[in-house]
Amino acid sequence: MTESAVRPAAGTFTPMPGAAPLVRQVLAQASMEARLMVRNGEQLLLAIVIPVLVLVGGVAGAHRVGIHFDERAIDALTPGVLALAVMSTAFTSLAIATGFERRYGVIKRLGSSPLPRSGLLMGKTGGLLVVEAMQVVVLGGVGLALGWEPRTSVVAVLGAVIALLVGTFAFASLGLFLAGALRAEATLAAANLVYLLLMAGGAVVLPADAYGGAGHALTWLPSGALGEAMRAALTDGHVAAGSLLVLVAWGTLGTVLTAKTFTWE
């Protein structure tokens, strides 16, 4: 064998390198992320099954455990369950998935592809929004079937959409921080634990004033802020600027922490 300096003829593998347009790369990544999330049984449990159980159980049993709402139970609970759904996807599912991506070298593998880091983040965000849209359809549908009567003014819908987006930003940044700081198994455990604690005691499903004296403090948590913002929009028909600012602050904190600590491998 000699070193061939001759230029070879065109063939099957003749180099023709190039990155796809960024938009196409991001769409490909988002659809991949969404498919993987939906395919995963445990994540589906977290995204759909638990919120549905909380909604149905809450409507059926809230008064029996001594919780009374200003509105009908279904109107008080559905916005909170939507907030819970956002939290499950943007925080718990994202943290677990990212933890295992680091473990399995997926992020390293993608690191040698044309997809830039920013494209990966956009793709992940897109995947989250696709899954959240599906959750809104399913959970909103269950709510409507149970007699939910949400506010449907432009302001109400806008308030809910902004709450979903800002809530996603806050929880996703915190989820990535967790996934970057811990091993995959520890991330799995911590992300589920935090989810359960916030679901029970974080003023996400139940309004903050259901927690008595502690209620006000809970609105400073990302869970409480997202729950209050959803309820303000869909129950009262206004945009809760204060809660949204709290979420932006958490998102900024999460982003700074992630940027400082996250490693891709």
Binding site: E3, S4, R7, P15, P17, A19, N40, Y104, P114
Partner: protein, 311 residues
């Protein structure tokens, strides 16, 4: 620039803590060739490759791939190279062909996924989740992922580790076809036969240092013929030296292990008789006495054997 090398590494130093992984390495890869980086585990092969791929920043020295700095010019370089990593690199739940299609979509002019899957025998496991693929199937998928974007240079890290003989041959043929079509292939391996069969140029690395470099023919030239002696129990103390003394200066005796050594020089009947008599004197029983041309394995054992003897 067609004459510009595909890869140029000069004076590369890499450290992990106090441990020096790569020690002032120089390496040039010409375009349209297959270059093998050969060495035992921990020799610094993967570290060197990952520095070329832009995963690691050189501590000292420079690395250029297609004339670009793999760290500073990463975004320009990445679409032009293909990387096959050692170990996984896919979601556990992703299906084999789904993963291949996904990476293809990130490129502007990818290869036809069906054709590539045919070539690498991936159709029979196309819908299998990654975690249930065999090691060999994962390797073949990894190779497909590295070439699907039609790169100019592919870096493949231990491409045939864990493959059955048929898959190895398929992989070799694919790598040869890549070279034929104008792709530059840089591979690491610890299989001598792989390097000897595929490579235009071989760089042997040990403990982060380049210890030999050349075409397979150049590397195996030299010691006209060899005798490899393997005995049933360890040689007594000072055995190689006494055999060297018996055989005289025109023959070179190199210990390979405590039960084997390599004799390079004229393998004539006198030499053989001397070796047989010496074995009897030493009270060791020859298990095998192989005559042959020096192959890459001899070269490698010879060089690293000497390296170890110096320690």
């Amino acid at each position: 620039m067609p004459d510009q090398p595909a890869v140029e590494v000069s004076g590369l130093v890499m450290r992990y803590g106090d441990k020096v992984a790569v020690d002032h390495l120089d390496l040039t890869v010409a375009r349209h060739t297959i270059t093998a980086v050969l060495g035992p585990n921990g020799a610094g092969k993967t570290t060197t490759l990952e520095t070329c791929e832009g995963y690691r920043r050189p501590r000292e020295g420079t690395v250029r791939v297609l004339g670009l700095d793999p760290v500073a010019d990463r975004r320009d370089l990445l679409p032009r190279i293909g990387v096959m990593l050692q170990g996984s690199g896919a979601w556990s739940g992703v299906r084999a062909l789904e993963m291949l299609r996904h990476i293809a979509r990130l490129h502007a002019h990818p290869l036809d996924v069906g054709m590539l899957a045919d070539r690498l025998g991936l159709h029979d496991c196309g819908r299998t989740p990654y975690r249930r693929l065999s090691g060999g199937q994962q390797q073949r998928l990894g190779l497909a992922l590295a070439v699907v974007g039609r790169p100019e240079v592919v870096f493949v890290d231990e491409p045939t580790a864990g493959m059955d003989p048929l898959a190895r041959r398929t992989t070799w043929e694919l790598l040869e076809e890549l070279r034929g079509d104008g792709v530059t292939v840089v591979l690491t391996t610890h299989y001598m036969d792989e390097a000897e069969r595929l490579a235009d140029r071989i760089h042997i690395i040990d403990e982060g240092r380049m210890i030999a470099s050349g075409s397979p023919a150049e590397l195996t030239r030299g010691g006209t013929a060899t005798i490899r002696l393997v005995v049933t129990k360890p040689f007594p103390e000072g055995a190689p030296a006494s055999l060297q003394a018996e055989l005289g200066p025109q023959v070179d005796v190199t210990p390979i292990s405590e039960v084997s050594l390599l004799i390079a020089g004229p393998a004539d009947s006198t030499t053989l008789a001397t070796v047989a008599r010496w074995c009897e004197q030493q009270g060791v029983l020859p298990e095998s006495l192989n005559l042959g041309q020096r192959n890459l394995e001899d070269v490698f054992l010879e060089i690293t054997g000497r390296g170890l003897a110096h320690d």
